[in-house]
Amino acid sequence: MVFRRLLRKRWVLGVVFGLSLIYFLSSTLKQEERIIRDRTLLEVRDSDHHIQWKIKFILGNSSRQISQCRNSIQGKSLLTDELGYVCERKDLLVNGCCNVNAPSSSQHVCTSCLANGCCSIYEHCVSCCLQPDKQPLLEHFLNRAAEGFQNLFTAVEDHFELCLAKCRTSSQSVQHENTYRNPQAKYCYGESPPELLPI
């Protein structure tokens, strides 16, 4: 009874209302703040801010000695190592590098690549992309990378990773979602998407 009478008091209601309002505002604001924080995971905070690309380019004579190589892992028969050598799986050394002396190995292969920077063989695309003279092209691409790509390319750490990632088919490779723009030359290191062929 006492409680009920207390509730009828105007100031009590006022306090209750006030507290609710504060809670409401604070939680709303917090929510907004959180959304912003979340977005920063994905996107640049503001457009003037330049992303610090961490790419280290392999410059000049890349035949330097390294003990371990990363390579493109996935290939059905071919692989590209981080020095840009393409070789058959059987010519891969234990350290992950291509055996440069094997007849099948060659460096910076662009043979299946078109002028627009799209290749029909993934391993060729990666190898071609690792050519030192592709650096300006890649830097240009990175600086204006499409929004949807920033997740991917902000996480890329060096030239090899960039080429591995750039050459993969992506949202830029398809038309009507489920069809390649160009089913032949679909792996692109260049800036432009594959040529659009009619279905």
């Binding site: 979340d38 234990v94 949807g148 979602e177």
Partner: protein
């Protein structure tokens, strides 16, 4: 041959998502008593009910009492298998014959189940009880004998509140809870029952409170106690996101958004639930609480998702070197090449992909992509009573049709109904669907990966090998429903931790006599002259991402086991990549066994080689040799009249093209995507024909490629494909020479086809159907020579034919028929008018059925019917197998069914001169998907007739002695069952 994955350009598909179906399921808030969708009912344990009730309306409590007492003189005799009532009674009487126990009787159970085989019998024994029981127990078919117990169970709702005004205290509730099986309304009836009745039998159990912490049921706690909790394993959850501060997760490494919505949070609860099953650390515990979670938001709150989002997100997963990826999403479009290629690329980069097989069961032919891929672990759902969940998709893969045969999928099954997982913001909820079963496996895989010391050995193939080798087979379920069986975490742990890189096969042996596991193979023996039986085996190669088959697989028949009565042809993937390939085994009967009956055995040996990556010597390759035992049942070739040939070659489906449903009422499922095969959506029809003694074979090649003198009837159902001119001439000649033809057609109306076009959000383009339900203009070309044609009318309605209730669901009518033929007409609604103008009109005397005896000496018979829905399992309302029987009696045995010919509905055959015959829809794109047409300036033209498939039989290398090892092997397999 069998397995080439045809790559046709221009595929357009809806990535339907499990998610959508899944989201249809509600929390087990039982408040509404209407609408029990296939996913809606949670687990029926009283415990659960209690919990639910109390959350919903706190003033209500549920009391469950139950007591049991032994019923005097009554005993339950449990058998080793399911037997008919007669067989059971024979067993018991033969067992009791010796003890002279005269005074016994079988207690009758009058319930609907008594028509079906059962695995127990209640027996009343009044004398000599002890000795009788002992003898009973000794009978080879009797498993055990236990006293009958009477279970008294009562559920009481008590309401401490005095006022009955609570909305929860509704009278309907009380009624519902009086049932001893709460929440399971009409569960025994087909259709609405949540539990899969499947026609199979699961042993009867008391309903008890089952602990539903799925990780504990699978004994993950054993591995936890050994210190394995998933640490160091990166798991990606591709789903609807996860909120940042969810209390259940301690190691969310990253959340990324790949959708067009600017949020990372889960608005639906699906992604949170899935992540919880994998990695929740409190309340409803996941499998691997210490694993590193990577949340990929690829699905919006409006349940939209595009292939292109997946492509980018998958690329990121590769870059981040994800170890395990769960995808509780799937769709029918296995011809979405960018997506399928990307999944291959992903697994080639050592990402173990686990995906849900789909929620489109119990229909066959409903497997979803990417779970149907060889390199992906496809997961089906079971309930906590080890029944295949009704919703779980099943049936073979349909990539290989029409020339080949589908692969076995799902790979394994695990709990998928009423599983508890993390709620959207906090707490736990319970959900059902294969989207639930998939993270159960993904969580188990994550935990397993963390137990392995040498992580190099863990790859998509070795993990899948460990899971399927350790899985527990469910009794009474075929391999196209359960794959290798139910996930067994601890056995998988043992196998994985003693794993040596090797190749293995799935299925690991071929026993075409083994029922029901090897259904449909076991349902029809093979015989000389039949179409070769194809088994599509998947080779898993744990040695490396690429591999090859060394030399050729070898066929070694066992001479003492009549292996030389079998011819075997093998085709296989030229390169096993990524981690897997196919091995198609075609089995045929040798001529010398044309009239022989018996069992023949042998084996196929395959050697797989992979480049040795970790081999320091770098001298080349690792190899692994696998043996595939083969056992078949041979019977003498059946007479022509018993043999039916099913035309698969002329059935087209989605993907790749828009081939609309045969029943236009089914608007939420507009595509014909189940393969139209006798082992997918025409499974019931196949079973029926088998039970009637017919032998059904499948023609996966043009009509020119079979010997018509072998078959009584060619059965063409709902054909969408065009016909080569050579096929038309050949069929005419065949029918003159005594082959009969049955055609079940379907609707084809160009105005309706234009009307059912739609804008497909998934591919962002307009979709116009390329045919109607069937390709009537093409069929008319085929049957024109006999003066027959179907119309472009579109009819629907119920009627009675020969005392059978029939439903005509979007069918056409017969426009022309020879005047000496028999035509039956019915009164139907004009559905075309309804679709186009929303008007209703009733049309009388629509000719639906025609029977015709061709005039030539010894010529065959032709039967036409205008609708295929009544023999198709998808969306069927009333079956008309009786009609098929009658038509087969007519075509195979020339017996004119009097019920049809003497009916009052018989009409004068239509001459079809009043209305033009249907023409092909102008501008249709059928040529893109057709094997017959090719694009031409102007109209598409037929291609040159392809050569008929040719099998090169493997040269047998006979073995003279029975391999003891083989026997031993089979024994192990049997024991494992």
């Amino acid at each position: 041959m069998g397995n080439d994955q045809k790559r046709t350009a221009g595929t357009m598909i809806v990535r339907l998502c499990l998610l959508v179906a899944f989201l249809g399921c509600r929390l087990p808030v039982v408040g509404t008593e209407e609408d029990s969708g296939p996913f809606s009912t949670p687990f029926p344990s009283p415990l659960n009910a209690d919990a639910l009730l109390s959350t919903n309306c706190s003033q209500l409590t549920l009391k469950l009492d139950f007591s049991t007492k032994v019923v005097k003189h009554e005993y339950i005799v449990a058998f080793n298998g399911y037997f008919t009532a007669k067989a059971r009674s024979d067993f018991i009487s033969s067992a009791l014959r010796d003890v002279d126990a005269v005074n016994w009787r079988i207690v009758r159970r009058d319930n609907p189940a008594s028509d079906y085989p059962s695995d127990f019998e209640v027996v009343e024994i009044r004398q000599d009880t002890r000795s009788s029981l002992l003898t009973l127990q000794d009978h080879p078919y009797i498993k055990r004998v236990t006293p009958q117990r009477m279970v008294l169970r009562s559920l009481k709702l008590t309401d401490p509140g005095t006022d009955g005004a609570s909305p929860c205290n509704d009278i309907r509730w009380v009624q519902k809870w009086q049932s001893s099986r709460p929440l399971r309304r009409t569960s025994l009836s087909l259709g609405s029952g949540f539990w899969h009745a499947t026609g199979r039998h699961s042993s009867r159990r008391l309903l008890r409170a089952i602990p539903r912490h799925v990780a504990q049921i699978l004994q993950a706690d054993v591995l936890w106690q050994m210190g394995h909790t998933g640490s160091g394993v990166k798991v990606a959850v591709f789903d609807t996101g996860l909120s940042e501060k969810h209390p259940h997760f301690k190691n969310v490494k990253e959340r990324t958004n790949w959708t067009n919505e600017k949020t990372l949070d889960d608005g639906l609860g699906h992604g949170t639930f899935v992540a919880g099953v994998i990695a929740s650390m409190r309340e409803c515990q996941g499998f691997a609480p210490d694993s590193e979670l990577h949340i990929f938001r690829v699905f919006t709150n409006n349940q939209v998702s595009y292939t292109s989002w997946f492509l980018d997100a998958f690329n990121y997963a590769i870059l981040k070197k994800i170890d395990v990826l769960n995808l509780s999403i799937g769709g029918p479009d296995f011809m979405d090449h960018p997506f399928v290629d990307k999944v291959w690329e992903l697994t080639a980069n050592k990402v173990i992909m686990v995906s849900a097989i789909g929620n489109d069961g119990p229909l066959y032919g409903t497997l979803n992509n990417p779970a149907d891929q060889m390199d992906v672990i496809g997961v089906g759902g079971i309930d906590f009573e080890d029944n295949i969940a009704r919703f779980s998709s099943r049936g073979m893969t349909t990539w290989e049709l029409p020339g080949g045969y589908g692969r076995v999928k799902p790979d394994i099954v695990t709990y998928g109904s009423g599983v508890r997982g993390s709620g959207l913001k906090e707490g736990c909820r319970s959900l059902s669907g294969t989207s639930v079963a998939s993270p159960v496996v993904a969580g188990a895989v994550t935990l397993l990966a963390s137990t392995v010391l040498n992580r190099e050995l863990v790859n998509p193939a070795s993990m899948k090998q460990a899971l399927i080798a350790s899985a527990r087979r469910l009794p009474g379920v075929n391999m196209f429903e359960q794959g290798h069986g139910k996930l067994d975490l601890l056995r998988a742990y043992q196998i994985l931790n003693s794993y040596k890189p090797q190749a293995s096969l799935s299925p690991s042996y071929i026993d075409l006599t083994e029922c029901p596991y090897m259904w449909p193979y076991c349902s029809q023996p093979i015989y000389y002259g039949g179409m070769p039986t194809i088994v599509n085996v998947t080779i898993l190669n744990g040695m490396g991402v690429t591999g090859r088959i060394v030399d050729k697989p070898i066929w070694q028949p066992y001479l003492p086991q009549n292996g030389d009565y079998v011819d075997v042809a093998v085709s296989y993937s030229p390169v096993l990549w990524p981690w897997a390939g196919y091995l198609a085994i075609s089995v045929s009967v040798a001529k010398k066994a044309a009239s022989w009956e018996g069992i023949a055995q042998g084996h196929v040996m395959v050697t797989v080689a992979s480049p040795a990556e970790n081999d320091v010597s770098n001298t080349g390759e690792m190899t692994s040799t696998v043996k595939l035992p083969v056992k078949v049942k041979i019977v003498p070739t059946p007479p022509r009249s018993k043999r039916i040939l099913w035309d698969q070659y002329h059935n087209l489906r989605y993907p790749p093209g828009y081939f609309p449903r045969d029943n236009l009422r089914m608007k939420n499922d507009p595509l014909d995507w189940n393969g139209d095969h006798i082992h997918t959506n025409f499974r019931d029809m196949y079973q029926h024909l088998r039970s009637m003694g017919y032998f059904v074979e499948v023609l996966g090649a043009p009509i020119t490629c079979f010997d018509a003198s072998q078959y009584g009837t060619l059965l063409m159902v709902d054909s969408e494909e065009e016909y080569f001119p050579e096929e038309i001439t050949k069929l005419r000649r065949d029918i003159d020479n005594g082959l009969s033809l049955i055609i079940f057609s379907d609707w084809y109306n160009t105005s309706v086809m234009r009307k059912v076009k739609f804008y497909d959000e998934n591919t962002r383009q307009w979709w116009m159907p390329d045919t109607g339900g069937a390709n009537v203009p093409a069929l008319n070309d085929l049957i024109a020579v006999w003066g027959m044609a179907f119309s472009d009318g579109l009819y629907e309605g119920d009627f009675t034919m020969a005392d059978h209730d029939m439903y005509y669901a979007s069918g056409c009518s017969i426009a022309r028929f020879p005047e000496d033929g028999i035509v039956v007409a019915q009164t139907l609604k004009d559905q075309g008018l309804e679709v186009l103008k929303q008007e209703t009109a009733v049309v009388e005397n629509v000719p639906v059925l025609g029977l015709y005896q061709t005039p030539s000496e010894g010529g065959g018979r032709i039967a036409l019917y205008g609708d295929s829905n009544c023999i198709d399992d998808s969306h069927r309302q009333k079956d008309c197998f009786w009609l098929l029987d009658a038509l087969l009696q007519y075509t195979s045995y020339s017996m004119t069914p009097p019920s049809l010919t003497h009916s009052k509905n018989r009409v004068v055959p239509p001459t079809g001169t009043d209305r033009p015959l249907p023409q092909r829809l102008e501008g249709n794109h059928l040529y893109r998907y057709s094997k017959v047409l090719e694009a031409h300036l102007g109209d598409p033209k037929p291609r040159p007739l392809p050569a008929c498939p040719h099998l090169s039989w493997a040269k047998p290398q006979p073995l003279n002695e029975t391999l003891k090892k083989y026997k031993y092997y089979m024994k192990i397999l049997k024991r494992r069952k």
